[in-house]
Every structure is written in structure tokens, then in C-alpha cells.
Symmetry: D2
Subunit: 400 residues, 4 copies
């Protein structure tokens, strides 16, 4: 593991490989949105993160729909298609289990994978509840395998730069963290029921889907929250089902929530997520204020970081800098293009896999630059506390 | 009172006055930042809001420092300078009392003014507590005078346009209100004690100074909140005094607060204010999401309103509009310049006085387009509930 | 004349006046858009630029329409209304002649004013042609009066800051100046004839009206251009007249022009103006690139200046700064409000009058911070060269 | 070839392939920046543009440096490495020749490829002069092969949307096109000589490298220019060589140019490019004004298009829309992610190859959505005219 000029931990070099990279057999569960993003990352990594820390071997992909999983296997080049993740895990070539299934398919499969000695990457939220996440954490800990919970926004170059500026003390003492994650896709009451609106399958709504991301960033960038007060809303409680007979189904998760946080280091936080915000396509935005400066980030412009320095040399021109995070010396940019040739959302997954491969090959820690199952569990504890605060109207202590 | 093409209530016309405008004698308390802004508005109004609903006569100005108040009188053309507001109120020419004094100088002077039959404009926050504000509301109600609490941001053209879009139903059902008011001026621990950091004088800190503005906008634009959960912070508890002997003084107000709100109409709100946000010069920002669209506003770019329409005709080009609110048909713009020749912060006070003068001359209601003492009182009730929630860790019901 | 901390030349102080300010009798021609803006500036200056360098006495206002000029006099407090500027200039109380008339009313009145010993402020463009402007320059030079050509954008705080950064060498060698001034108001072919579309009255179209402003900024910020190549367009050549009988009139000026400039210091420039740009309300935008940094400005956000420093200390966060030019130490801001409480377009006129009054009272030069008739003449020379290049298809040398 | 809901021509479908896609053997020249971008596109296309119109077979890669080309072959999976493009073209498996070599390596190799019946994709600028480009156009025309000149910005979704809005008449008559392409990378005089600064190798400087892109967009979006007036600059004429012995080399190309254009349809254009603009990382920006609206684009935020509609329904909220071009119905977005999950610069190459493969497989025209060698030739004619105008100081007619 090398460090580039500004101290960002990097995962390779631009020179040719001295020796062939080791191979890691991967088995994936899920072929939907996340399956597509992860497959793309696995296929791109070996030549863009070059020389690669390891080369993934796409051993098998599992999913419930036989035809769909077969198509996905053919499309992305997975060697075998499975309709049962157990059969996938029976394949001894699988060294790394990548769980892209829906939330209610996380725990059992991951635990089995751990018990059979596989390293695991699991999509977020880790479990539907803290209790469920705890069983997963326990399993990987006991098994001694590498584990990563896919809070992929830690791997946006601008977010990693934010972390760098904070952890090197350049922002000073942190006073504020405020973040929203706003989308618009269910504001129409005619939008029908999907698994994400059902508590049994999804665990929670905007909270687990969107809020978990910004709660992870809160912990990644600022530290542990110790208290939370929150409210949650289900604006539309009945929606049409998508089944033949018609009728409606009950929305059993939150459409939106908002919370205020007290951090251990004394910072004050606000976090909010919603799927009822017209115009907000993928509106994850955060701002951090410290004694020496401020940072702002917006996912829809993920190549940029806004930075304000309190004590900058030229007083006349103090102001937020719009930093296009795309220089060769910026995090992860040695893999990409000349400055200003921006990258996209999907690249976060490439960086994340590269980090995990590095950890597996060199037996280095996954934390703190990637989230582990420990982070996934703590995230779930905070989510639970938010729902409990919303229900009781009382501030809740965060206790892991 | 006339309406212009798009239905904005206007306060005059571009034609020459058919008859001379009536005169209103004004007496002002305070010569600081607000005194300057109000004086400018009174002097500008008669020729920019033309023909004016009334012409102010600058009868007298009062303040504790004899020399400073004398200078202010000379500078702005106040006929007489007083070192005691009681003497000012003894002057029978004063018909309108304009209270620009510090927060602890609001109640007694306003109550006396009401008891002696003067119309009143009082700077915000109305009182240091809801109890104090209640005595002021009672006094003006009993006296039957016109009363206005100077939540001047209601008179930003873009904010008035936002109100128009909401009250005409164009935004549909409101789901979210989120607002921050962020400044930076006390982030340096060496910044010394001022009256604004002392509870006895100011009542509260960022809450009453900044938070009260966005709470007023919440009520103006969305409606009444019914529940609140909040946290508050005093990041730096001791600061150097500004007195000769040195030493430190205790900061007895909040440096920052954050709250989540539940509105009567079901909307979810977040409000936050702080003076510890480097780079945020005057960072009042709000966003409102409704079933048919969204609005965004930033005070540092007060001539703009961002608007998203959910069901706009050309699907390919949906997106937030950056509306430069400066057309002849936009609120208050008939008084100003051709489109794109932007106006400044101080103009809100001109619009506000014009509205009050109109109300006095025609005996029309001050509400709902301006805030009254009733609004000032309700604002104080919410502020009190926020502090109580922060202290107790429990959600508080808002009850006026 | 004092300098504030960063060396901006200032025109007064915040302390009370030691002695009464001298009075300057002003006579104005014109009561339209510019008449309103200038009147407001004259009325506001004495208490906002405090203590003022001089106090204007509003002696008289002249215009062709007797009723309109009478209304304007009453509205703004001009002591007397005239329907003939000669009569106004017969009034010995007039010490400063303020010419806000249409372009074809500039030369004769200004020359007469100069010959009778009045200081002169004349709206831009100074003359309809360089030849006409030359007669005006000659007159004021011979008379030895103060003269100012109202290129008011030199008095935007952000523009003055740009000048400061350049003239102190902080931007290094200047390589590029690019500016546009784009408006939209005649894009509709049904928009009828007005004097601004008639060459005899206006001299030129977008060029003299809008282009002259950015050409002045080119000279103010970068230096003298020595060569120009240009094209001009009249997109709609016939428009309905506004007279009773109907019919159409010929548009005899440019709807738009674009030019490339070669500066004496080697910089390359582009300037363009148009009235055919939907959505561009008052779209004056410029950018300057030097060896040490870059600047960007947009008139619709006139309180902001974007600044990039090439060699800034923290390499990781290089980026354009969005500077909110509203600090007490920024140009002209000592007269206004706390940071972030933005000012409007009209304030430029206040700063400009203050500068001229200072020059008159102290007999200090109007140049270089304000434009003089010399600047107005040189501006006209460049405008003429642009039209000549557009007609001939040949690069034109700029020769004053 | 199918059309999606809004009429964008698409190149595949989301369903599984009914039959295996045909294979196209590709041979590439060059392994630098463009070689990397093209290789990535070829590897990604088959599973992201799914089912693909054709599957590329990476037959061979050629380059001068044996070691470097070998590394590139291994890295990207090219079957064979060549140090001579002639040998590559001797390989009968090569059906498509992809020329990513430096500008002086374009003509001969492309002509040979055409003569041997290969389809060709050639990086821009096509030739170093119009004369050279003409020989290339003649060769491909005579050979009857498919030919594409890689003006890849036609394949930015937002740019394609811009084309769609214009070609469907939604923008009305076009009055203005203004574009800049600004970079910063040689502003430091210590930056040493590279081939791009040498006329013999590069043909021209900022003009051919950057200007050619925006000239192509001018033609793609607005139409043919008929006249041009221009200036060009070489700010730093001597630079250190990168060779061992030291010394300096002469910069024989333009560092910057600026031109005004007259289009056949009457529109007025401005184009400018420079490598001397600190802070401008990859600053390609264009704006188009038509009688019914305006468009703005910035490459550093390539997922966005700003759009203004002149006659939009809600008058109160007219303003530029910031359109996040990432909806399923936007051009090329069916291949990617849910809305708001932005894509990067490299994706343009994937779209471009997909278009070319479709053209090859179905024998459909490459024009007008991609640029052909005809476009490459016309582009060179305009570049030549710009240099000639800059040299002569005279407007030049564009004549193909």
C-alpha cells in the first residue's frame, strides 16, 4: 500500500505489474440495480485500477428468477447462474460473497457465507434492524473474514477529500454536520406498492434507504452521535398494488424522517431524508462547519467539493471554493483522466472493490476508509433510535 | 388598494398623486443597525413608492447616548433627539412608534406607546419570552392600534412570490419545509461579549436573532407547527469581556439550535440557526416541497427564487428554474427598475413601511402579508418550546 | 481622502462631520429610467455616505413633457421644473449639470453646460459617434470643469475589487478579457419601434447601449485595445410603429454585435452584446484570466466576484472562490450593512456621485476610478471601429 | 434501430438478445489518453449497451514504444501488440481501424486502412490542415467504408438533448451561438515543450485541440458558418525542452484564438479557445439563443443542461431550468442508472462506439448524429480560415 503525495492511501500504481495479480473468486446475489453497478465495477477494475491488487473471477450469480439471472450471467460474464444462493455458496471457487439482494435477503445469506469462510461485501442497510445486523456482525467477526458494508459514498473522491481535510485537522473543531438525502419518486399517490414500501421486506423507508447513507457519512466525517431526536412521516398510507386484481396495499415504512443529533465531540447534527421532494433527483447534500472552515457536497455534482477557509491568506477574496476534485493528486484520480474530465456515480463501486481487494490480498483492515459490518451495525442502531424517538417523542441515547 | 396583473396586492400606482398623501408622524427608538435601515426606508419611501400611501414625518429619535442620538438625528433628518423614549412618546406629533431598540427595550416602550394610542412597528423578536410578548400583544389589542412585528423577509419579492405560489395552490399539498439561518461571526473564541450573548438582554441567542426569522417564514409560507423536538448548543461558554479590566463573561444563550417540526397540515419541518458557520455570511436558506413542485430561496441571492414544477409541459426539460424575481409583474417591482437590475436587502424595509402606511391610512389589516404582534407572540411561543425541548429532551406541543 | 485597511480609496468616514458639508447645486436633464436612478442617488447620498463630501441641492430638472417633468420635480423634490434645458442652465444655482437625456440630447446640452462653467455628469454613451464625443471632450477640457461619463459599473463593489486585484498585480500578466452583455427585450418581432432602435437618435443599438459598458470595463480593467475585428447583426429589420396609424418603421441600428480585441499589453479580448437572448435579463458577464489567477463577474449577481488563485497555499482545494463582496473592508461597503446584507444595482450611482462630489470639493481627479469624457470619447472611438470592421470585414486599428 | 418515447434514436433495447450479436474486429493505433478511453469504451459497451449492436473483438493495438504497447495490450486485453500500424493492418481480422495516434499519424494510417477496406474511427482533428483532411475524406469515400471523426461531445446526453430541442424547432430561429473551450495547463512558462506545441506534429494549438470541438458543436447544433473573423495569440513563444541537454524550443502553434462567425442561417457566433485560463480545468461552455428559448452547457457539469423557454406557461416563474439530464427518457440514459446517478466524461465514447457499431451492422448512416470524415474535413476548413483571418486581419469566407 502506497501513499501519494498528499497522503491519500492508494491501491496500485501506474507502472506495469511486476507479477501477475492474484485472483479472487466472486459470487454475487442479486441482478438488479446494484447487481448491474457491482458487475460493472468488477469488470472495469482490472484495467482501470492498474495494476490491480487482485483480479476478480466472476464465478457465479444467484437470483430467484431463473430467466433473469441467466440473462444477467450472460450479459456480465458470470460463469454460472444460480436460483438459490445456497448453491452458489456451495461452489468452492467463491472466495468473496457480494450480497446485492433486497434487505430481507441480507442476513441469512451473509451469515452462511461467513460460516463457510467467505469474505463478504453486503449492500446497505446491513440488516433491517440493529438486532438483525448484530447477528451478521457476530458471524463475520467469529469467522475472521473480511467484511464491508457498501456505503459507497465514502469512495466519492470529493467525500474522501473531505475526510482527509477533517482528519488532518485542517477544518479545526467540528461544530455542525447537516445532511439531507432527498428524492422525488413516490410523490405521486398513483405510484404503486413496491417492496421498498413494506416494512417486512425493507425494514424502513427513506430512513434505511437514503438516511442510512448520510448517517454513515456523519460517522465517517464527524464521529459518533450520542443522542438523537427525530420525527418520521408516512404521507400516503395506502397505495395501489401492482397485482392483477387491483386494490391497495398499506405503506408500512416512513416516507420521510428528520432528526437532530448530538455528537460525542460536541457537534450538532441534522439529518433528513425523503422521497417526496419534487425536483430532487438524487439530492444528497451535506455541509460541515468547523472552527477553521466549512465543506459542502452535493451528490448530483459529485466531482465538486465546496470549501471555505476561515483564515485564508488573501482576505479580500475569502469565499467558498468550488473545487473540481479531478486532479491527479486527488483521491482515486490516478486511475482516471486529466483534470476536468469528470467521472460518474458508478465509479464509487470500482474504488470500493479495489479497497476491499487490497484488504483481502494484503490482509489490511477494511476500516476506516470503507465501512465494515461494524459500521453497518452501528448505522442500524442509529436508525432504530431514530424510529424510537419518532414514536415516543423523546430523545434517544445511541448505545452500540 | 389595487391588484396588479398577477394578483399581487400593491400599495400605490405609477400615476401622479390625485391628492396630497397624508402625513404620519414617526418616532423611533434606536440608532444602530436597524435604526439606519429604518431611517433609510422612511426617507426613500415617499418617492420610490409613488404616489405614497402616506408621507412619514420624522418627528423624533430616541437613544441612550446623547451624542450618538444627536448625530443620528442630524444625519437622517429627525427633527428632535431624545435620550429617553418616554419624552419622545410625550410628543403628540408621534403617531407611529418604531421600536428599533435592543430586545430588552421592546416591551415597556411598546406597551406605553400602545397605551397612548400610537401605532407600533417593533423589531423582532417581539419579546424575550412568550410571556413578555403576550403582554405586548395584549396592550396593542386593547388599544386598537395597528401593530407590526418587523419580520422583514416577508417583504423580499422572491419570498412574497413564494407565498403567492403556495396560497394559490400551485405547489399543491405541502410536505416539507426546511430552513437554516447560518452566520459565522462568533466562531472565533477571541470574539468578546456583546449584549446579544447575554440572556437577560437578548432572551436567546441564534434562536431569537436568526431562528425567529425562519420560524416566521415557516408560519407565513406553510402554516402552524403543532409539535417540536430540538437541541441547542453553546459551543463557547466563556468569552473575553470588552471592558477595561479584562476578564471573561459567561455566554448565557444558545450559539446554535436545530429543531424538527410537525405542522398542523401534516408537513415535516426542520429549522436550524447558528453563528458558528465559517463562510456563511448571511446564510438564510429555505426549501419547500409540495405535491406539485418545490421552491428554494437564499437570502444572499435574494433576487432569485428557484422553482420546480412537477407537471411542467415539456417533460425533457424539467428542472429547477432560477427565477430572477425582477419583472414589472413581480411583487413590489413596479416601484423599482427594469428587469435584472437587482435590489438589495434594505428594500424590504421600504416595502414593509409602505404596507403599514397603507394599513394605517385605509384602516386595512396588517395581517397576513406583514407579521403582527400576534405573529410576534406566536413566534415567541415556538422559541420557548424549542428551548424547553432542548432542555428536557422531549417533544413539545405548540400551544398559543 | 482616506484609505481603508486594504487600500481602497474612500470618500468619507463613519464619524460625525466636523463641519458642515459644502452644497453643490445640481440641474438634471431627463426624468426617465436614469433620471429616477440619479435622483434617488442624490437623495440617498447625504445620509448613507456619511459625512458626505458634499450635499446636493436639487435645483432644477428639465424635460420636454411639461406634465411629466412637473411630476418628477414634485416626486423627487427638485425645486423647479423646466421644459427647456437652456432655461435650466440659465439658473446660476446650477453648479453640476447631470445629463440623463437620450443620446441625441447629450452633446449640445453638455457643451453649453461646459461653456457656462458647470461640472458635468453625462450618461453613456457620451456621443452617438466619436466625432460627436470629441466635441464634448474638447468643450469640457477647454472649460476646465470636472466631467464624468456615467459608466456606473466601475462603482459596483465587486468590479472595483477586480480592479484592485489587477492593479496591485495579484492577477499577474493579463492574457484574456471576455465579456458579454446580453438582454432579451426585443426578441419578439411584435415589439414596436422605440428611439433606441433608430440610428439618428441612438447612434447605435446593442453596441452603444450595452457594448459600451463592457468596452469601458475592458479599458478600466485590462487596458487599451489596439485592434478590433467585428461583426454586427440586425436580425429584425422592420418593426411596427407605436403610432396611431400603424405601419412599420425601419430598425437602423445593430441588434447584436461581436468583436475580438487585441490589447496593447498583448491580451486577447472578446466582447459581445445583444438584445436577442431569451432569459438573459441583464446579462453582463465578464471573465479575466491572468498568469496568477482568474476573475469572473455577473451583473445579475453583482454582490459576488469569482476568483481563482493559481498558486494558492492549499493545493487540494484550488478552485474558484465565490466571494460575497460585502465585508466592511470591501470597496464602498463602509457605507452599507453588515456582511451578507446585499446591495442593489442603484447603489452604483450613489458611489459614483460621491466620487464626483469628492473630486469637485477637493479638486482631485475624476480619473481613473470614474470614467471621464476622455473615457467616453475613447469608448466611442472603439464603437466606431467595431461598426467599421463589421461593414468592411477588416480588422481596424484603434486610434484615439 | 428503435425510437424511445421522446423520439431519441436508440441503439438497442433492455430485453435480452434474441440472437448473438455480430463481432467486429478492432485494431487500434495509440495507447495514450485516447487509447485508454477508447479501450475502456470497447470493453464496457457489450454489457452496458445491452443487447449490443455488435461485440468488439480486440484484435490488436499498435504503438511506437514496444514496451508500452505491450503493457497496454496486456492491460486492456488486446490480443496482439504491434510497433507498426502497417503490421496491424496486415491482420485480416481487423475490420474497424481506431486511430488514437497523434495528429501527424492520422492521415497515412487512415488512408491505408480505407484502401484495405476497413471502417475507420479517427480521433480529431482529422488532419492537420484542410488539405490533409481532404485526402482522408477522399480515401474513405472512394473505399465506401464507414467513417467517424471522434467529436465525442455529440454523445454527451445533454448535448444530444440540445440537438433534439433545436432540430424539433422548439428553440425557434437561432440567433446566437457562443462557445469557449478554456484550459489552464500551459500558463506556467516553465511548462516544457510537448508535441502539441509544435505545428509540424499538431497542425495547430488550442485551435485544433480545443477549438475544433466547439466548431463541431457549432455545426452540429446551429449549422454551417459562412464567414469568420479571428485573432490568434502565442503568449509564450519559447519554452524549455524536455531533453537532457536543456535549451528551449519554439512554440509554433496558437496558445489561444478567438473568432466571430456568421452562419448561413443568419446567426451570429463567437468561439474561443485557450490553454492560458487558470482555474478552467476543462472549460467547454456554450450558449445558444433562439427566438423561443436559450440553452447553456458546461462540460465540467456535463450531466446538466440549462434551458430557458420564452413562452412558458407560468409567467411568474420564467427562468433558466437546470435540467439534470439523467431520466430514463433522456438520450442514452436507458443504458445507465436511475435518475440523478450521474455519468462521466468517458461515457461519451461508449455511446459513440455503439452508434458506429449500429451503423456498421445495419449499414445505416453515421451522420448526422456522429461526425464523419466529411465533418472532420469541414472542421479543418474552418480552422484554416480562422488562422488565415488571424494572419491577414480580414474576414474569410468558409468554402468547403
Amino acid at each position: 500500500m502506497a501513499e501519494d503525495e498528499v497522503g491519500f492511501v492508494t491501491m496500485g500504481s501506474a507502472q506495469a505489474a511486476a507479477q501477475p495479480a492474484p485472483e479472487i473468486g466472486v459470487g454475487m446475489l442479486g441482478y438488479g440495480f446494484m447487481g448491474k453497478a457491482h458487475s460493472n465495477a468488477l469488470k472495469t477494475l482490472p484495467y482501470m485500477v492498474y495494476p490491480p491488487p487482485a483480479v476478480p473471477k466472476l464465478v457465479g450469480i444467484a437470483g430467484r428468477n431463473a430467466e433473469a439471472v441467466q440473462t444477467a450471467a450472460q450479459r456480465y460474464g458470470w460463469q454460472q447462474a444460480y436460483t438459490d444462493w445456497r448453491a452458489l455458496l456451495d461452489n468452492p471457487e467463491v472466495q468473496l460473497f457480494d450480497n446485492c439482494g433486497p434487505n430481507n435477503a441480507h442476513a441469512e445469506a451473509c451469515i452462511t457465507a461467513a460460516q463457510t469462510g467467505r469474505h463478504i461485501l453486503c449492500e446497505k442497510p446491513l440488516g433491517r434492524t440493529a438486532a438483525e445486523a448484530a447477528t451478521m456482525l457476530e458471524a463475520v467477526t467469529r469467522a475472521g473474514v473480511k467484511h464491508l458494508c457498501a456505503f459507497n459514498y465514502r469512495f466519492v473522491p470529493a467525500v474522501r477529500l473531505a475526510r482527509h481535510l477533517i482528519e488532518t485537522g485542517q477544518l479545526g473543531e467540528i461544530y455542525h454536520f447537516r445532511a439531507v438525502y432527498l428524492q422525488e419518486w413516490i410523490v405521486d399517490p398513483a405510484f404503486g406498492m413496491v417492496w421498498r414500501l413494506n416494512k417486512a421486506e425493507a425494514g424502513s423507508g427513506a430512513l434505511g434507504d437514503l438516511g442510512s447513507h448520510i448517517l454513515d457519512l456523519a460517522r465517517f466525517l464527524v464521529g459518533e452521535p450520542r443522542q438523537v431526536s427525530a420525527m418520521a412521516k408516512t404521507f400516503i398510507k395506502e397505495r395501489p398494488t401492482r397485482e392483477a386484481g387491483g386494490g391497495t396495499g398499506e405503506v408500512t415504512v416512513d416516507d420521510a424522517f428528520a432528526a437532530v443529533l448530538d455528537f460525542e465531540n460536541g457537534a450538532l447534527g441534522t439529518v433528513e431524508a425523503s422521497r417526496f421532494c419534487p425536483g430532487r433527483k438524487n439530492g444528497q447534500v451535506f455541509e460541515i462547519n468547523g472552527s477553521l472552515g466549512s465543506l459542502r457536497f452535493s451528490l448530483e455534482r459529485l466531482n465538486e467539493l465546496e470549501v471555505y477557509w476561515q483564515n485564508e491568506a488573501v482576505r479580500d477574496t475569502h469565499g467558498f471554493h468550488t473545487v473540481l476534485v479531478s486532479e491527479a493528486y486527488h483521491p482515486f484520480w490516478k486511475y482516471w483522466w486529466p483534470q476536468g474530465h469528470i467521472i460518474g456515480w458508478e465509479h464509487t463501486f470500482i474504488h470500493q472493490f479495489a479497497h476491499l481487494f487490497e484488504s483481502i490480498v494484503n490482509d489490511t483492515p477494511v476500516a476506516p476508509y470503507a465501512a465494515t459490518f461494524d459500521d453497518g451495525y452501528k448505522n442500524a442502531v442509529i436508525c432504530d433510535a431514530i424510529l424510537r424517538s419518532a414514536e415516543t417523542g423523546r430523545q434517544q441515547a445511541i448505545s452500540y
